[in-house]
């Protein structure tokens, strides 16, 4: 029967009866008479019965109690989504229901708050990446990559997109799906086995006049930096290709803006900027490019622009260049994206406004310092090769366990037994790296945390 006076349905049965009478309809059933009888569902859905708020709370708590959050278990997991500090005021501000319960700001007059917050997000991403234009978000890094490849092809009229071989295989799989529509060709460029750096001679060989874009990541999926950026940018541009750089924006208080080494498009994962890990979603796809009409008109996604009131000079914000988008351009749109990750973008704006240039640099230094310390200490353990590639690292690094006489699975199980989530195993994705793991540290890790990892590993390995 349901509750009398449902909390989310203000019109009680009595009121509904009254409304039906007022519009001359005999019963609610009559309102569904246009659905052919053959497909009317004449039974109740096979779902649990209605629960009270208290029951739902208990039920969901009970299910979720089978999760072990990394706040209670020391974790070294990264690889596409990374735990960072989220200040309380950031959480509180983005939960304000005026932001939370609004739709896409189609009516700018009553939506200036969301529009300005998104404009600030776009502006801050531009400062971080050295680009001029950022959209108000894509779904995540991997879909940003897919969209970037499509955009490069639209801009250049070419059909090949080049990526590094050491790319996250899941990100690559997403890219494959995104370019499968127009059937773009993907090329992978190999790396130096010692340093992980891109094989630039292979790159030059591949860079013919069919290449739409060249993509690198900084830091890459395995945590190290690509240092030959100027050379790669030059090679890409000489071949008439667009240079696309993937980033983790939280590194950009410390690291150079890709725009300063020639990037035309910058993409990445904005989750670290104040957004929770949440089992990998929602995330925040960063997408930015240079102020070049050729590029901007081909951009996917929503753009917020500054303008003024029609009458008077008051500054205001509105969605702009919508003729690129699906609701106007339909099948000729630059992308089908409509709902995106707007509130995650607002979160990033609040986060960046709070930390500012100094805070972001401090976080970057803390991440890199912690990684450096962790690697240094891990190297003292016999049998570990840390990191696999001799290159500068940001906050993630690889560890090879070939010589410990124990499988990584067994080692990680041992760590977990002692309340530590070890690194992400890499063997399935990169068999050439041997028995290896990807480890992550951020500003959340203390020296004691890292020392505890070392001590525990020593204990397990004897």
């Amino acid at each position: 029967m349901g509750f009398v006076g449902h909390p989310y349905i203000p019109n009680t049965r009595e009121i509904r009866e009254q409304m039906l009478r007022e519009i001359g309809v005999a019963s609610v059933d009559e309102l569904f008479a246009d659905i052919p009888a053959k497909i009317r569902l004449r039974r109740k859905l096979k779902l649990p019965g209605q629960m009270s708020e208290l029951e739902v709370k208990r039920h969901v708590h009970a299910i979720l109690s089978r999760n072990r959050p990394f706040t209670k278990t020391l974790s070294f997991m990264g690889g596409g989504v990374w735990p960072h500090q989220i200040p309380s005021h950031v959480k509180e501000l983005v939960r304000r229901s005026e932001f939370l319960t609004s739709y896409t700001p189609y009516q700018p007059e009553v939506s200036q708050g969301m529009l300005q917050a998104l404009f600030e997000y776009q502006s801050m991403i531009c400062e971080l990446t050295g680009m001029d234009v950022a959209n108000s978000s894509m779904y995540d890094w991997s879909t940003s990559l897919g969209e970037a490849a499509l955009m490069c092809s639209r801009v250049t009229g070419r059909r090949k997109f080049i990526v590094p071989a050491l790319i996250d295989p899941e990100r690559f799989s997403t890219l494959q799906n995104y370019v499968s529509g127009p059937g773009l060709e993907l090329g992978k460029i190999s790396y130096d086995k010692g340093t992980g750096q891109l094989d630039t001679s292979q790159l030059r060989k591949e860079l013919r006049d069919d290449v739409a874009g060249v993509y690198i990541e900084n830091p890459g999926y395995l945590g190290f930096l690509e240092t030959q950026v100027d050379e790669i940018a030059k090679a890409a541009h000489e071949a008439g290709a667009i240079f696309v750089v993937g980033i983790n924006p939280i590194s950009l208080g410390l690291l150079k803006a890709p725009g300063d080494y020639g990037a035309d498009i910058v993409i990445g994962e904005g989750q670290p900027l104040g957004n929770s890990v949440s089992f990998g979603g929602p995330l925040l796809g960063v997408f930015a490019c240079r102020d070049d009409v050729k590029l901007v008109r081909q951009m996917p996604g929503r753009l917020i622009g500054m303008t003024t009131a029609l009458h008077g000079k008051t500054r205001g914000y509105a969605m702009v260049l919508q003729t690129r988008e699906q609701h106007i351009r339909r099948e000729r749109a630059t992308s089908s994206i409509c709902s995106n990750e707007a509130l995650c973008a607002v979160t990033a704006a609040v986060y960046l406004a709070s930390f500012g240039p100094r805070g972001l640099r401090e976080i970057g230094e803390a991440c890199a310092s912690n990684a450096s310390y962790a690697m240094r200490k891990l190297r003292t353990i016999r049998g570990l090769k840390v990191p696999i590639f001799d290159a500068p690292h940001f906050n993630e690094f690889t560890v090879n366990y070939d010589d410990i006489g124990m499988s990584l699975a067994k080692l990680n199980a041992g760590l977990l037994k002692r309340d530590i989530h070890g690194g992400k195993p890499l063997r399935g994705d990169f068999p050439e790296l041997g028995e290896a793991a990807l480890m992550c540290v951020t500003e959340l890790h203390t020296k004691d945390d890292i020392d505890r990892l070392i001590k525990t590993l020593e204990e397990i390995l004897g």
């Binding site: 349905i9 009254q18 409304m19 209605q50 005026e98 089908s336 709070s354 890199a368 500003e443």
Partner: protein
Amino acid sequence: MTNYRQARWASDSLLEPLAFELGKPGRSGYTLPPKLHEQLKIPKNLLREKLELPELSEVEVVRHYTRLSQMNYGVDSGFYPLGSCTMKYNPKICEELACLEEVECIHPHQDEDTVQGALELMYKLERFLAEIAGVDRVCLHPSAGAHGEFVAMLLTRAYHKFKGDGGRTQVIVPDSAHGTNPASAAMAGYEIVTVPSDSRGRVDLKALEAATCEQTAALMLTNPNTVGLFEDKILKIAEVIHGAGGLLFYDGANLNGILGEARPGDMGFDIVHFNIHKTFSTPHGGGGPGAGPIGVKGELAKFLPVPVIEYEEKHKRYHLNYDRPHSIGKVKAFYGNFRVLVKAYAYILLMGAEGLSEVAEAAVLNANYIMRKLSNVRGYELKFDSSGPCKHEVVFSVDPLKKETGICAKDVAKRLLDFGMYAPTYYFPPIVSEALMIEPTESEPKEELDRFVEALKEIAEEARSNPEKLRSAPTSTAIGRLDEVKASREPILSWRMYRRRAGR
């Protein structure tokens, strides 16, 4: 009738400065514990020299974004009849649950044994959604509606390819469809064939038959459609498409109108998508994050993205299965917008089977109430056969009022903002001239619906007595109408572009 005034933090030319224009050098809105000082080996060519971000104290940050929020209108502010967007109330308990550590602080690469709760919740949500839509298997990965559509089109291609039927290059889309439909199909490499609507506001069956051929890969259909009407010839439509070897895709934007009353799977749809942030009440956050799961029938399941969640009865344990040789692979990182999915799961439990049917009944009644009440108001008309009921939404045309007074749908919509309500979707669907697309949802009490109809009546009268008032509306909002033409002609898309323009 109304004294609505939106908050406005303004000087003459500025509602609220940008964060970049606030603060002072040296201020900070954070604290960090002492850090290790390791010698970093980052080469000079990769080190940053300067970064121009705002420098604000926490106090300033909080005031700035609080003020911005006050210049934003949400469902919690009032009536939000935005057609096709299902702006219903978002229960607070769902938000609270999504903020638990057990939701926010679990990592997708963690050992499966340490995330059994998350896997169980998603596994059960998949089954709930499958039952609601009448499909066999659900995948929660897509991030939003359009993403779900895109993935559905990738599945369509994989399916035809598997059947050795690679010549299917066309996707049929009605002219009333959401723009995302043709855009998603085009992204997946399909050529779009548009079919017109008939005089009843439904798919023109003859035109559909003519458009369907051996090249047809799929038909994308919203039902109830964007005019708010049920495609009552759906069984015949399914016969036509299936008869030609095509698939039927269900756009779930309007599922709220038939929840528990009818199921897409029973109508013959092969692939469906869900707008979790519409039907299942997760807040839209000003444009996302939402979630756009897809459901499929029968053998289409083998093409779904990896991983799929499985339950091992023997070990009473959930696990992620990547061993799916026919899978299309990945469509995004990880397993879906988990934090959003938790809210949907809680919502379905809060409503239960009876509650979900009640949602459809109350939402459809609210829309019909507006339809009947407003059809008595001079100035607004229904373009299609209005003898039968509408579903979750109703589309009025402002044509009569425009003919009489020159006032258009946009003017009416903008004036509604002054009444403290959000505007309906206007100029959509494109098949209705001067359209106002009104979706009240089940969340609105009768009084609010009456107030809405009264407001539209008052506006029609104003159009006759004082049209200028409408053309200059809104005046009660933080800002009046914006120069959107200039905004797109000379786009200023960031603080640095603005400074460059201003020569600063």
